[in-house]
Amino acid sequence: MAYKCTRCKKTVEIDYEYSGIRCPYCGHRILMKERPTTVKRMSAV
């Protein structure tokens, strides 16, 4: 799963088992989940 680091703005791949939630480039622990590029369809209710 790709996330975006809020400090260095790089897209990072997270290995949950090994590193936990941490940016491998800068060590920051706040990561954002990016919006998927697919079109989202839904009912307007």
Partner: protein
């Protein structure tokens, strides 16, 4: 049946219907609320949403925008459409909403492919966008009835009450207590006696009866007369709304008639 108009505004009508049953008055009320088909945004496709609101929240807000149409009859309901409900220009109106912050996105920013379709009110806020925030939404509106979802409800505040009848007996001494206690100013003092001058406003609360020591007042509902008030959501003039509701009732009655004729 006797019809008497009390008040008519663009979005609101109040009339007196006499010589009908409560079932009929209720039928009109219910038809106004749930049987008159109108357009509302049905499905949306979100291409981008970086605003503070969730996608679902924006979808809900878009769905609830009332839509006016110059030629509503040219659209058919999806289940009655020649396309069989798959979606075609006969049962759908496409729209596009694209906005970038900073600023508020209003209902007037929704661009429909049919120039005859537009939001009933221009200034309905959809979402507020900050610097660099963006929404790009596409979708379509369909014509359905209020029974499916309240966003297709053409009549909003619809209600009726029995016409009140206030009788003032000979024992009235003109003390004025009933006039004082009445919350709706129905009664007034005339020639030393109480008189019902504003009877349509009476809600049959009977406070005046409790207050009258002489026991001169009698307030009763007229069982076959109804004060009906209908308010439109703005999608069509209220006169048209009531007429369409009556047509829907007629259509059902005719359907039943045809079905019964088949039996014999």
């Amino acid at each position: 049946m006797k019809f008497e108009l009390i008040e008519l505004r663009e979005d609101r009508i109040r009339f007196l219907l006499s010589g009908v049953t409560a079932a009929f008055a209720n039928g009109i009320r219910r038809a106004c609320m749930s049987e008159v088909p109108i357009l509302a945004i049905d499905q949306i496709s979100l291409y981008d949403n970086t605003s503070v609101l969730f996608d679902e929240q924006i979808a809900l807000r878009l769905g609830l925008v009332p839509l006016q149409s110059k030629d509503l009859d040219s659209y058919s309901r999806p289940e009655d459409c020649q396309c069989g409900g798959e979606g075609c220009p006969g049962c759908r109106v496409d729209f596009m909403l694209s906005a970038e912050g900073p600023g508020m996105v209003y209902s007037k920013d929704i661009q429909f492919t049919d120039p005859g379709v537009k939001p009933a009110f221009d200034k309905i806020p959809i979402v507020i966008l900050g610097e660099g925030e963006k929404v790009v939404i596409e979708g379509f509106a369909t014509k359905r009835v209020g029974k499916d979802h309240s966003k297709w409800q053409a009549g909003t505040l619809c209600g009726y009450k029995n016409l009140p009848k206030i009788e003032i007996g000979a024992s009235c001494d003109g003390c004025g207590k009933c006039i004082e206690v009445c919350p709706r100013d129905v009664l007034a003092l005339e020639e030393g006696r109480a008189k019902a001058t504003n009877i349509l406003e009476c809600s049959l609360c009977k406070l005046c009866i409790e207050e009258c020591e002489a026991g001169a007042l009698k307030v009763t509902p007229v069982l076959d007369s109804f004060v009906i008030s209908i308010e439109s959501s703005g999608v069509m003039p209220v006169k048209e709304l009531v007429a369409k509701a009556a047509q829907e009732i007629r259509k059902r009655a005719e359907d039943l008639d045809a079905k019964l004729a088949e039996l014999t």
